[in-house]
Symmetry: C2
Subunit: 82 residues, 2 copies
Amino acid sequence: MSKFMDVHTEMKGITAEALREAHAADLAIQAEEGVVFEQAWADPESGHVFCLSEAPSADAVRRIHERTGHPANEIHPVPLMV
Amino acid sequence: MSKFMDVHTEMKGITAEALREAHAADLAIQAEEGVVFEQAWADPESGHVFCLSEAPSADAVRRIHERTGHPANEIHPVPLMV
């Protein structure tokens, strides 16, 4: 299991409600890929949303986000943390 | 005080040691701007480093990172979290 930070860049105007719903949708199916979404932070003005997860692979993260309708633009393994 | 996620994109090859040192340098002076760097995650392969902070403004975050020699490429207010 590794940590990943994925970035969505097209979510301008996202609301707290929409973020909660998107996150809930991911949580509902994440176990099918062994992914654990830990936290997400959103900047509605620029449309950037950052999602931190623990997962077996970047592809596993990608598949969950695609299935829930909000594919990530970038998925970064983040093996280093401080 | 607001939450910010800043992104460095030119840190290819960053090591655990270098990340710790960079973070320590920020922590050493952050109080001068009222910034609290909470966590940072690094992808040495792509050179992306993500830093989560609480701060009075994006400019305050920017100034600390500039003074410690690793300016951020992007600083995003992230008022929404889940």
